[in-house]
Symmetry: C2
Subunit: 398 residues, 2 copies
């Protein structure tokens, strides 16, 4: 097949016009907003023009269906409250162009999808989570956004378009192209990243409770300062993780809340988030043991009470070997020696879809690693290169 | 003179009834509240009964004046929003009893004061700050409380009682008794603490600005995590201060604000408070140099932008040698070998009054070191012991 880079870029720019906002190429197109629904209606029409049959399911996921068994490709077209023009949109429009080129070439059969609410106005990857059975529809319906609007109310705005949930058995696999949303390829100068796995996540809140005291009248040796416990814990974790992690492992203390959080009061309580991500379940488990042991050691050493919150756990998802090999061959054809195999540190719709069928992912570089911001961008030559990798992969899958 | 412990305790319990609240011996009597004004009217009447001439100044400071030149004694009778029964009240009622006993004994001349808004509904030690010239009245008048009420509006509630500001030249010195508000004497079992000096304070906000990033897609070696900078700074400060401090020096990071403070985002900015207290100005200066040098070193090492907020500086105040010696002699007479010389880590009205006349302070123990809480308390035998130390000291001053 022969993909058309100009047509692809024109469609990508056209999609940005729905919710175009902010500086640069910013987009405001949250799930179920007027801009989002208008964009999906436009996409449905472009699918029809490409020879695909548009189909909305009950939660607003939009499919463009080829006849018979087909390979599904796509991503999502909703955006962050203040998002960029490529996050999700790139994967949808690239899939549209590949499906269109395949129709023009007389095969293979490629279907397209734009999942709904990947950006989590209500949950996280809500549309694909419901379709895949990860989240029951009744559970999703009771989720509310920041303004108290429920998922059930929001999706009612698209009820007139909705058919049934699709049977996933008609799809032979799912390929999602996405921007990297990190700085790795922008730093290395590589043109494409074939995803090895989507990392697993562990996330928990930890609370140290010491003794709130006057910051003037309490001698240092009589203090039980909860911030000092957090700082000590952080220092120890950084040392101890070094023995078990790989260069791809990440960990973050992103949230810290001191009580009462005043300059003249020794903090009596500190709650903080501890999150770690890795592609290997065993390693995630070993890290959890270090997290728990270290917190207990610090609590004992510094006279703190210790409480662990419930742990959020998402398992790593390995990419399908056959689909991944096709992407690797495509990448080598388009950018010989200038692509990499890499994990996805972020969640994607592919995580959910992996419950239904084989999945694989392709990354394009993100300038400065910036995403979830108006400034998000990628060189258009790199976007087209990514499209060509997809086409090469599809050709190989036959 | 002969002080009456029962009469003193009865007055102390009677004062608690104004604003009595909460569990145990809690008090809610913030400055200019109905309870505060009623308590001051009652105090004025008790002063009159004791042979003193009550006088309110324009900001609500209440004096009970002896004839001729006199020694001033007292503290404050306003409380924290949720306070205890002794913080301030103890010093006022003890002064009343000593002045009353002195009147009964035919001398010496003791005047009494209850300063207004020591607890800082509007500023910090506002009443004594205005009287001493530390804070100009116009500046104080523009201060507002948490509800947006100005000091000018609040003090208007007492305007009908107000006379002029008193000439401080009529007072030969000022002695303030106060609860320790710390755990030192409760830990050691001592009965009284003669204050050597009120420590100086340095307080500033420090901000590290790194790079806000996705906590999944940003490798550890490409992060500029502002929380990591705070933790590193804290570790280094704790090491480096050890070389310059004494066991009485204290330092605190009591406030930390991360941005955006979310578990899945590498913090791009961290603002935190750095406060340190010591009785020696030179040491405070050496510590400031370490604070600034260490922050700059961490910023350079970790690729952070660094900003220092304005520094709040209050100089240490040494107690007057003659008044302090009288308190020491009194303490030794009442609790031989069972008292200590100690700094005050907290601010007190005496800090302001030291601009006008010689000052000294006496501490009584605080059970568990607790203050600014309903649970604040002291054994009544220790309260009476403190009263006796004051009487012994006044006898010696003649």
């Amino acid at each position: 097949m022969k993909v058309n880079g100009e047509r692809f870029l024109a469609d990508l720019h056209r999609l940005r016009e729905f919710g175009a906002a902010g500086v640069g190429k910013g987009v405001v197109r949250p799930a179920y907003s007027e801009a989002d629904i208008a964009a999906r209606d436009w996409l449905a029409e472009r699918m029809r023009e490409a020879g695909l049959r548009p189909h909305f399911d009950p939660v607003g996921n939009l499919f463009g269906l080829a006849d018979g068994p087909s390979l599904l490709m796509g991503s999502h077209s909703d955006s962050q409250p203040e998002g960029g023009w490529l996050d999700g949109a790139l994967g949808v429009i690239a899939a549209l162009e590949v499906a269109r080129a395949a129709q023009e070439a007389g095969g293979p059969a490629i279907s397209v999808v734009s999942f709904q609410d990947e950006e989590g106005r209500f949950g996280v990857t809500t549309g694909s989570a419901v379709w895949s059975g990860t989240t029951p529809l009744e559970t999703a319906d009771s989720l509310t956004d920041r303004d108290g609007i429920s998922f059930a109310e929001a999706r009612a705005a698209m009820a007139g378009r909705a058919g049934d949930f699709l049977d996933p058995a008609q799809f032979t696999g799912f390929i999602e192209m996405h921007i990297e949303q990190g700085p790795v390829m922008d730093t290395s100068g590589e043109k494409a990243g074939v995803v090895s796995d989507i990392v697993g996540i562990r996330d928990m809140r930890i609370t140290f409770t010491g003794q709130q005291n006057h910051a003037g009248t309490t001698p240092m040796d009589l203090r039980r300062d909860a911030f000092q416990a957090v700082s000590r814990y952080n220092t120890l974790i950084n040392e101890r993780f070094r023995n078990v992690v790989t260069p791809r492992t990440v960990w973050t203390i992103g949230h810290v809340a001191l009580h009462p959080n005043a300059s003249s009061i020794v903090p009596g309580r500190a709650t903080f988030s501890m999150q770690w991500r890795d592609g290997d379940s065993d390693r995630l488990g070993r890290m959890e043991q270090i997290v728990r042991d270290t917190a207990e050691e610090v609590a004992k050493e510094m006279g703190m009470e210790l409480a662990f919150g419930p742990m959020l756990g998402l398992e790593p998802v390995a990419m399908d070997a056959r689909l991944r090999a096709a992407l690797e061959a495509g990448a080598e054809a388009v950018a010989p020696g200038n692509w990499r195999l890499m994990p996805s540190g972020a969640l994607h719709d592919a995580t959910n879809v992996s419950r239904l069928m084989p999945v694989a992912m392709l990354f394009t570089p993100s300038i400065g690693g910036i995403s979830h911001a108006f400034e998000e961008d990628t060189d258009e030559a790199d976007l087209v290169a990514g499209l060509q990798v997809l086409a090469e992969a599809v050709d190989r899958l036959g």
